[in-house]
Symmetry: C2
Subunit: 281 residues, 2 copies
Amino acid sequence: MEIIRSVEEMQAKIKTIKAEQKSLGFVPTMGYLHSGHKSLIDKARIENEFVVVSIFVNPTQFGPNEDMEKYPRNESGDFELCDNAGCDIVFIPTAEDMYRKNYNTFVDVYGLTEGLCGASRPIHFRGVCTVVLKLFNIIKPDKAYFGQKDAQQLGVIKRMVLDLNLDVNIIGCPIVREPDGLAMSSRNTYLSQNERSQALVLSKALKKAQQMLDCGETNVLTLKEEMVKIIDSVPTSIIDYVEFVDNLTLKPLAQVKGEVLIALAVKIGKTRLIDNMVVVK
Amino acid sequence: MEIIRSVEEMQAKIKTIKAEQKSLGFVPTMGYLHSGHKSLIDKARIENEFVVVSIFVNPTQFGPNEDMEKYPRNESGDFELCDNAGCDIVFIPTAEDMYRKNYNTFVDVYGLTEGLCGASRPIHFRGVCTVVLKLFNIIKPDKAYFGQKDAQQLGVIKRMVLDLNLDVNIIGCPIVREPDGLAMSSRNTYLSQNERSQALVLSKALKKAQQMLDCGETNVLTLKEEMVKIIDSVPTSIIDYVEFVDNLTLKPLAQVKGEVLIALAVKIGKTRLIDNMVVVK
């Protein structure tokens, strides 16, 4: 496995891979890799002749009061996971190389980014779209793999790719969970032992919604109420949102009908966690 | 010469050209082609094995009170000029195909777009950047040709290409002028015979600045004053701006030093015309 730290070197490498006409799978990450990331790399490995994983904690997607500085990092651990998963190149550029002097270009996807996480993280998706577009332009992948865990991000990236006529196939991959149901996230490392068990309210709330839906309940207010009860049972929890939205437009719904994304963001202590589920009615 | 009207068909065609590893030159235009455009196509023809010209009056770069609807069109004349210039493909998509249902993605280059034409046309460069990025993604050119006439546009596109790590070489080409000095523009067709002769004040003002610079004058206020006098000598003229800016950052200057863009926008009757000159001191 090769480790490349410069944009220019990466571009030169991609030229040679393209010249060999190899199919190229790409997994963009912010590092501190876990089994969720590994599932993306595994899928990329199966579906492509060449696999690139990027590790970049992207400054433009963090707000001024967010966890950019303390975002967890584990370079050697990440390299080991990538190597074991059969990744060909890890691309790990510096922020200075990605955003050079006089940098001034940003991409916005409107409509899909105002609600859910976008409401409390106003510049987040602009940063995500911009860095993903840059990475696509550098890596030129045939397929790129994103986790369903960041459901809004997945929807926004798909919209951007369609709108900008990008020649890359976006593959959404299922959420990977701990045995007790907690969705895998690099941010889980922030949780104290006590908070770790409290964090189960997110997946429990989703399970409750699933049960009620199975019993025929489709009224969003009723469903939300029960989910909120479960989350509020943990005194340290602060709900950012619990939303039922159309899975394509991300517009809020009053009734569960069609393909519906049930998404929630909850702070457990100081750690903001997200989880979601897609249901079809 | 082939005429392609659908984005999908164009993408399929580009795949075959890329497979043949032919170098690809691209000239994006809004049609109603004149000798200025021809000079771009000629240069593209010399420098590339394959040449694509696009004709697209892009709705997202026109403000609500601008001349989108009455922008001049001459499809058959454009095809003839392209064919004579040895162009391989004219790509002439519809607005519906370029901006499909639920379209919501836009690219902004900040910093360079606030002054000059950006001041009176606030959404113009967002529209330009977005459509140029889309066209680059569809056509995948090695080189793309832009006129120096739209100096701010050229600077903005160069910035976007650098910032987004796009793999395309941006070639700026000199302004082509009528024998009497008027810069070629599709919008010149709006001018009445009387206005056509009045429109010469733009190039005359630039010539005056050149003369004064040759005589050692570098104070921008003094230079501007003389240019404004010339333009104001035509009673129907309304100055939008006369600016001396750094040619890279487009920031206003008090003194002519380094590479300086002298740019002006003037309304002659109802027609807004632009012209410019780059000087090095």
